[in-house]
């Protein structure tokens, strides 16, 4: 069968397999769905369309406007179905944005792929709303006052993505090259976008 992670107890794996087997029988699960998840997420999918949307917004003012006013439609430019729940929040010299889900781990999977593990764990979920500046500093990004920090707690079905500030030199690069520099963590708001070779 599949390779299971060695750290996870046999107990959990046996329950998962039992549930899978029962739900297949009962017509509540499709093998195609399982295969599709495996194909999409058992390798690194990166930040996906999110990175491309940000790169385009940096280069194309009209797309930027669409992204900020109607992100749900902006995703369709990259072949995805409309995603009406998506909201994009814009970083400026005066404001930085940070996304969290304190109650569970809501995250815009369709445009940002799998959430990082730390995003789902208690340290981030507990501290992001209480001490965002200190937390970002510990994570390697010092954001001094008076730059404001806005934290977006995804408590409903809306999903938030940060439009980061473009790094110096971004205007001279291609959309593809830029998209390759935009990390998942930058779209959550815990690190700036850096070009290769930049410090």
């Amino acid at each position: 069968m599949a390779k299971y992670h060695p750290n996870v107890e046999d107990y959990v794996v046996s329950r998962v397999r039992a549930l899978e087997s029962l739900l297949l029988e009962k017509g509540l699960l499709r093998t195609e769905t399982v295969d599709d998840v495996i194909a999409r997420f058992e390798k690194d999918v990166g930040p996906l369309v999110g990175a491309r949307m940000v790169a385009r917004a940096w280069l194309d003012p009209r797309y930027r406007e669409l992204l900020l006013s109607d992100a749900g439609t902006a995703v369709t430019h990259f072949g995805l179905p409309a995603y009406g729940e998506l909201r994009v929040v814009e970083d400026t010299e005066d404001v930085h944005n940070l996304v969290v889900c304190t109650l569970c781990s809501c995250y815009p999977w369709p445009v940002m792929g799998l959430p990082p593990v730390w995003y789902k764990m208690p340290p981030y979920r507990s501290r992001a709303v209480l001490e965002p500046r200190k937390l970002l500093g510990e994570m390697g990004w010092e954001i001094p006052e008076p730059r404001e920090i806005r934290v977006w707690d995804s408590s409903a079905e809306l999903r938030y993505m940060v439009l980061p500030l473009p790094p110096p030199g971004a205007a001279d690069m291609s959309e593809d090259a830029l998209a390759g520099c935009i990390t998942r963590d930058a779209l959550i708001g815990v690190e700036p976008v850096r070009l290769p070779g930049a410090k």
Binding site: Y4, S14, V16, L19, E25, V129, S154, S155, E157
Partner: protein
């Protein structure tokens, strides 16, 4: 649980317990559960890994089960979340993320009579013993039309952008998305999102009960008093029933 002054307060690691008894717990949880982590102290630093996130096989299967039980109309996202929130608190804090999903999904499916604890136990045992019965016939999967979360309602939102509002101080038993750290606090309506399915109803089989949803801004000083970091604020999406006129 064992008792006596020495036998202690000793939750056995939840995964060593009988899964069935956990699932069937008659004790409900509310938003004041350990899942409601905003503002908690003591969990230490955020530790990032250089490795990109990927799923392993059992996690993929759990994710697929979550997608398909939802697509089949068997379990909505609020029921799913409320299933997770009723985990044993120590189990919640000490188990991997997708084990939360497994536990929550199993609990809801048992409650809804879609599976029984006994058949789950029996199937797991037969798989472990490799005495898996010949594959039974499979019922056909029937998807329900996806409905999303947004709803059209006939009434206008009661709050306007810029309105001052105070959040509810209630500590309801059951599922809610009114986080504890923002309860009883003064905020300002930042945006109106339209009407959305109301989790406090939807999680309990009481229907969509759509309500207007708002983005509400809270100054850090309102949330955390003198412990607040200067120049920070939190935006939270809140349904109209959570809000009172300030």
């Amino acid at each position: 649980m064992v008792e006596g002054d020495h036998a202690p307060f000793c939750h056995a690691p939840a995964r060593l317990l009988n899964l069935g008894s956990k699932l069937a717990s008659k004790y409900t949880s509310g938003v004041n559960g350990v899942h409601d982590l905003g503002g908690m102290h003591g969990f230490g630093p955020v530790e990032r890994s250089p490795d990109p996130p990927t799923l392993v096989r059992w996690e993929s299967i759990v994710r697929a089960i979550q997608l398909d039980t939802r697509a089949a109309g068997v379990m909505n996202v609020d029921e799913f979340r409320y299933g997770i929130e009723r985990m044993d608190p120590v189990h919640y804090l000490s188990s991997p993320y997708f084990e939360h999903w497994l536990d929550g999904i199993s609990r809801v499916l048992v409650e809804k009579g879609r599976i029984t604890e006994a058949e789950l136990e029996a199937r797991a045992a037969s798989l472990v013993a490799e005495t898996e019965p010949p594959t039974a016939a499979r019922a056909a999967f029937k998807a329900v039309p996806p409905a999303g979360f947004r709803r059209d309602v006939a009434w206008a939102p009661q709050r306007h952008v810029g309105d001052r509002v105070r959040t509810s101080t209630a500590s309801p038993v059951g599922h809610t998305r009114m986080a504890r750290y923002a309860r009883g606090k003064l905020g300002t309506v930042h945006a109106r999102h339209g009407a959305y399915v109301f989790p406090d109803s939807s999680a309990h089989g009481l229907g969509d009960d759509p309500q207007h949803l708002y983005s509400v801004r809270f100054a850090a000083a309102e949330l955390w008093g003198e412990s607040a970091e200067a120049g920070t604020s939190v935006y939270i999406d809140l349904w109209e029933p959570y809000l009172q006129t300030a």
